[in-house]
């Protein structure tokens, strides 16, 4: 195989990093130039990435001779830590998706990041966000993290890039930190994912201790997996458990946090406070799917114990989250929150697929979902942007509505199809893909593969859970489309919207094309009529890797039952949405939701997301705050402060002795807190440095004498 493009893999993440550095250091005063630098950086990565993808798909059985390049980085106690890159079919799939979606979203951001509505208009100088350059710097850094993650050759590097993304996610969710809700959401995301990351890090440390290496190639060597699967560890409550199971579940917790699975899903809906391109890029297409990617990478470890509890656990969490989040999405009114819950639900699908061993289907759904979900978010952003402008337009005409105006609220919209046809058509394409509209959309093929796998391999609970979730998905997607684009405008802002600028609509069109045709590479061979046109190249490509890693990935026989059920769920959901919201559109923004009456109390529960946030506030958060109060008591009243005060008093005594040399501010500084105690000891020690060389010599000779005295003292 030709080495040339593969040996350049390590270059892929660098252009965005360079762009980040350039923007931060040099180009930031020029907003347009900064945007161009960022786009250029990610475009270079995109070209490189697709070059590698194209070179890899033409290699038959690529998975068996995946490319690996590693150099020694640091000597560790018994082994050497490496840095390196890996290109195998899964990486190639990610390299197809990540830089391209990044590029589309970067371009979209150029038009989107106009002056935000929450700031006073008096600050508006050029119509652009005041931190426009910073935005592009952050998303470039993010692209660096994500691209580095997908090519990482070992778990340590993966974790480093994982944290880079976590940082960017925090920075970007709180990007409009003038809004209290935004910075709170940023904190919430950071802290919630930290819970998962800590468990994951502990898992990594244990994994290193058990296998002596964090390189994927070493961890997944048959001998090591065999050992991990057979040696056991005593887990409290569970008894002897194979190491492989324990480690897989610990690492899965990282994925639970990052991919917002139950019970750590609470941060993702709040993360919608960030600018919409961020929601599309980080909280739909790339970062959140990194959790799924991690588990795909770690899959040999997960299934080292055949049919073990790790698989069951992942399948359970995934399937449960898929249904749970889909049901919440039904009752949300914020256009982005619907999509956020939908993302959580779809990520649950992928985990469920992994849990039942549908490796190829999980990869397929991961990639396809990224395309249509980023499309949906960008479409939603286009709508929100238009609504904000519509609101300004009405405000200028003097017929602004009473009360605060939420441009995200779908109840304020309606009838936007004719005002912004490109956004509407592309959004509907994405929505149909999400609902799994049969045959034409990509989402149908990827979702169908998961369902078929569950059916054929006899995971009936997973199958029915996911099928019902698919029905709900189709329903809330239909509800969203009808509420936003059909009927009549429910506010004057919605009357005044117009189509977005071209830098926003073009990425929508490109992504819409992928949301439709992207699935065709994965049509099952057994599918009547269509199966033999392309012969399911995607499956064969990924399966070659699965086989190399010893993962079951045979081509499934065609079975009409799951396909029919999947079609029924999709069409049924859409049809129900049409009867509820399409036939008789909601007329006014204050009218109750048509679901409210039939669902009764359940609707309330769904709207409040099963009260999970309230539950956490009452338990975990309350406990943490109580604990921190306790510690602060320890600090202030019982131990630390008295200690510091004691140090301070001794310092004061010393200082009075040396009054000639000490100035008052230093002494005053002695009393407040540990920081100034450190500071103060420095100040005291500085006194030795009198500037008189005589004193220096005395210190030197005294030291020498002390050393000698120490030696002659009996017993030393």
């Amino acid at each position: 195989m030709s080495e040339i493009p593969f040996s350049l893999t390590w270059l892929i993440p660098l252009p965005p990093l360079l762009a980040f550095a350039l923007i931060v250091l040099f180009t930031n005063p020029d907003k347009k130039l900064s945007a161009r630098v960022a786009i250029f950086g990610v475009a270079v990565s995109w070209v490189l990435g697709w070059w590698i993808v194209l070179s890899s798909v033409v290699i038959p059985h690529f998975g068996e001779h995946a490319f690996r390049l590693a150099v020694h980085w640091l000597p560790a106690a018994s082994s050497v830590l490496t840095v390196g890159v890996i290109v195998d079919p899964v990486t190639a799939g990610m390299l197809f998706m990540v830089p391209f979606v990044c590029l589309m979203i970067f371009i979209y951001s150029v038009g989107y990041m106009t002056f935000p509505g929450h700031l006073p208009q008096s600050l508006n100088v050029d119509g652009l966000d005041p931190r426009y350059s910073r935005f592009f710097a952050y998303i470039s850094l993010f692209a660096f993290g994500m691209l580095g993650l997908v090519i990482a050759e070992n778990l340590l590097m993966l974790f480093i890039f994982w944290e880079v993304m976590g940082l960017c996610s925090y920075l970007l969710i709180g990007f409009w930190f003038e809004k209290p809700s935004a910075y709170k959401a940023g904190l919430k995301a950071f802290i919630t994912t930290r819970v998962g990351d800590t468990i994951m890090l502990a898992g990594m440390v244990l994994l290193y201790a058990q296998s002596g290496s964090l390189a994927f190639a070493d961890i997944f060597s048959p001998g090591n997996l065999e050992r991990l699967a057979t040696t056991t560890v005593n887990v409290p409550l569970f008894g002897p458990t194979p190491w492989a199971t324990v480690l897989a579940i610990m690492i899965f917790f990282g994925a639970i946090g990052k991919s917002a699975q139950f019970p750590l899903h609470v941060w993702l809906p709040d993360a919608m406070e960030g600018p919409t391109p961020v929601s599309a890029l980080i909280h739909a297409a790339t970062m959140v799917s990194a959790g799924v990617y991690l588990m795909i990478r770690m899959f040999p470890l997960v299934q080292a114990v055949e049919h073990g509890p790790a698989l069951t656990f992942i399948a359970f969490i995934g399937a449960f989250t898929a249904l749970f989040a889909a049901s919440i999405a039904v009752a949300q009114n914020d256009i982005k929150r619907v999509l956020a819950y939908s993302t959580i639900s779809q990520l649950g699908y992928m985990f469920a697929a992994l849990g039942i061993g549908a490796y190829v289907a999980a990869v397929f759904h991961l990639l396809v979902h990224s395309f249509f979900k980023s499309l949906l978010f960008l479409g939603a952003g286009s709508v929100i942007h238009a609504m904000e402008h519509g609101h300004h337009a009405t405000a200028e005409h003097g017929d602004a509505q009473e009360g605060s105006f939420d441009p995200n609220d779908m109840r304020n919209m309606g009838g936007l199809f004719r005002k912004m046809p490109i956004t509407a058509l592309t959004f509907i394409a994405g929505g149909l893909a999400l609902s799994g509209f049969p045959i034409v959309t990509a989402g149908f093929w990827s979702k169908d593969e998961i369902l078929a796998d569950a059916w054929i391999n006899g995971h009936s609970i997973v199958f029915w859970t996911l099928a019902f979730a698919a029905f709900l998905t189709a329903f809330y997607t239909g509800r969203q489309i009808f509420l936003v684009f059909f009927g009549t405008p429910r506010t004057s802002a919605a009357h005044h919207v117009g189509e977005s600028v071209r830098s926003m609509t073009y990425p929508l069109i490109v992504l819409a094309i992928f949301a439709v045709v992207g699935g065709w590479v994965g049509i099952p061979e057994g599918f009547p009529g269509l199966g033999h046109i392309l012969n399911n190249p995607f499956h064969h490509f990924i399966a070659s890797q699965a086989e190399a890693l010893g993962i079951e990935a045979a081509v499934l026989p065609f079975n009409p039952a799951p396909v029919s059920i999947s079609i029924l769920a999709a069409l049924g959901g859409l049809a129900l949405a049409w009867t509820v919201y399409g036939v008789q559109p909601v007329e006014s923004r204050d009218a109750p939701d048509p679901l409210e009456r039939p669902l009764g109390g359940l609707y309330r529960v769904l709207q409040n997301k099963y009260y999970i946030d309230e539950f956490y506030a009452a338990t975990v958060i309350r406990f943490t705050i109580w604990l921190s109060h306790l510690f602060s008591r320890v600090d202030r009243d019982w131990i630390i402060d008295p200690l510091v005060n004691w140090v301070g008093r001794s310092g004061r005594r010393l200082a009075t002795g040396l009054r000639r040399l000490v100035d008052e501010p230093i002494i005053d500084g002695l009393v407040n807190g540990v920081g100034s105690a450190t500071n103060a000891s420095g100040a005291f020690l500085r006194l030795i440095q009198t500037g008189r060389v005589q004193n220096y010599l005395v210190v030197m000779l005294l030291t020498a004498l002390m050393l000698l005295a120490l030696y002659t003292t009996p017993g030393s």
């Binding site: 106690a77 020690l685 210190v699 030197m700 030291t703």
Partner: protein, 494 residues
């Protein structure tokens, strides 16, 4: 060894000597044309240093272990330090190109003296005999006194030089006293002969001589490496000296101190490791890093801050000797070498930024760095990199050095030492990042409109330092291998 071989192994030193002489002579020849001298002599010195560096690297490839009489040993370790000194001197000359002529008419002597100082270091690091060690130390000291006091019309410079001189003279005397103990006990001045006598069994008076001798020797060596409590000359001399000289003292000269400590203790006094010198070094290490860091917090002048920072760094470096283990690849000694190598580029880089700012503003206090990111994004980002490396943040060379010496300490079961060092690193991060705060977040008094110009020579020095700082951290393995190899022969003797 044949005469030809002797000359071959001494060729770096001989080259340095010739270059220094050439610079002095050319200065006289071009006396009537000072402009010409000022323009060309630095490049003569640079060229000579480059030749010496090439010879040194070529000698490294021969992997020698050559004794020149009993006085000197040319081995990978000594060559490693010679290379450090030469590279350091080249960077210092680059950074001094604008600094020195702006402050004094005596320019050529400066370059010649820097080359002479490198020669002194080259002799110290390969000295294998107490006499030559003493002579080399004096040679380096006297050269350094002149360099510190080079701006003879500047009060600070002269004051620093005088304090340095007085302190150095006293320290030499104490060190010499310690050497006389060793000679009295063993009747030898050759390190290997001393080791042979001691290895015959530590009976009677012989056993008693170890500790006092080591304690007194450490006064002299500690002075050179500026270990607490023999560091007190350093802040004053560093602050008063011309900044390029400060950079040289804080890196190359300090490295020579560590080279000599390592060689004397490992070659001459290995018998006294457990009970005598490990406890002494551990105490000095803890004192050095703790005091250096605590006082550094208080500093409001960049040169003084970096002076204390480099004192604290010496404490970390010393851990490498305390935790010297038998595992060469991850041993303390190779960690020490990597640390010194990374620290060379990092610290000189930081001083080069100080020089650039001083050239532009005349000031070295912290407020002069306010809003540096606006006035010179290059300088600010470079200083950020160097400070991160000094603080030990990956992926920089400073991280690698800390990783290796702390790791060696943990492997050799010096857990307390490692913990103290880690706490110290946290304290150090505070004052390093405080400088970053000034550069990025504090509004400059004039609104930062006035850009700082950076001359090409300084630019080159900065880029070299930055590239090496990053390279050592990112591509760690070749440097670790090189250091382990350099340490291996000495470790084998020991």
């Amino acid at each position: 060894m044949t005469t030809a071989e002797t000359f071959l192994y001494l060729s770096p030193e001989l080259t340095l000597l010739l270059v220094a002489a050439l610079v002095f002579v050319l200065d006289l020849v071009w006396r009537r044309d000072p402009d010409r001298a000022h323009r060309w002599l630095p490049w003569v010195a640079m060229g000579g240093l480059a030749v010496a560096l090439i010879i040194t690297v070529a000698l490294m490839a021969r992997n020698p272990s050559a004794h020149i009489a009993t006085m000197m040993v040319i081995d990978p370790m000594s060559l490693f330090f010679v290379a450090i000194a030469i590279v350091g001197a080249m960077l210092v000359i680059l950074s001094a190109l604008d600094y020195i002529p702006a402050r004094t008419p005596y320019v050529s002597e400066f370059y010649a003296l820097v080359v002479v100082a490198v020669l002194a270091i080259a002799i110290i690091v390969s000295a294998n005999d107490l006499i030559l060690i003493y002579l080399g130390m004096e040679f380096l000291s006297i050269t350094s006194y002149i360099l510190v006091g080079f701006l003879k019309r500047n009060r600070g410079s002269v004051e620093g030089a005088l304090k340095y001189f007085l302190y150095g003279a006293a320290a030499s005397a104490v060190m010499l006293y310690g050497m006389s103990f060793l000679y009295g006990a063993t009747g030898a001045t050759d390190l290997e002969a001393i080791a042979r006598v001691f290895s015959g069994g530590l009976t009677g008076d012989l056993a008693l001589m170890g500790f006092p001798a080591i304690a007194l020797l450490m006064v002299g060596f500690g002075f050179k490496a500026s270990l607490v409590p023999f560091h007190q000359w350093a802040p004053d001399a560093y602050e008063g000296a011309p900044t390029p000289v400060t950079a040289f003292l804080a890196t190359a000269s300090k490295a020579a101190g560590f080279a000599i400590i390592a060689r004397v203790l490992l070659v001459g006094l290995p018998m006294f490791q457990e009970k005598e010198w490990v406890p002494i070094l551990m105490g000095l290490s803890i004192l050095t890093m703790t005091l250096g860091n605590l006082v550094a917090i208080q500093q409001r002048d960049m040169k003084r801050l970096l002076a204390y920072s480099s004192i604290a760094q010496a404490g970390y470096i010393l851990i490498g000797l305390v935790a010297i283990g038998r595992d060469v690849a991850f041993g303390g000694l190779s960690g020490l070498l990597v640390y010194l190598f990374a620290y060379l580029f990092t610290n000189i880089g930081a001083f080069v930024v100080v020089i650039a700012v001083e050239n532009a503003t005349g000031a070295t206090d912290l407020p002069a760095y306010a809003g540096l990111i606006r006035r010179s994004p290059l300088l600010a980002s470079m200083l950020l990199l160097f400070l991160l490396s000094l603080a030990g943040i990956p992926p920089t060379g400073g991280f690698l050095g800390k990783f290796l010496v702390f790791g060696a300490a943990i492997r050799a079961h010096f857990l307390t030492l490692a913990i103290i060092a880690i706490i110290n690193s946290v304290i150090a991060a505070f004052y390093y990042l405080n400088v970053v705060r000034y550069m990025f977040f504090v509004q400059p008094p004039d609104g930062g409109r006035k850009a700082i110009a950076v001359t090409p020579a300084i630019r080159v020095a900065l880029w070299v330092c930055a590239a090496m700082t990053l390279l050592i951290g990112v591509c760690a393995q070749p440097f670790v291998t090189w250091a382990a190899h350099s340490a291996s022969l000495l470790a084998a003797v020991w």
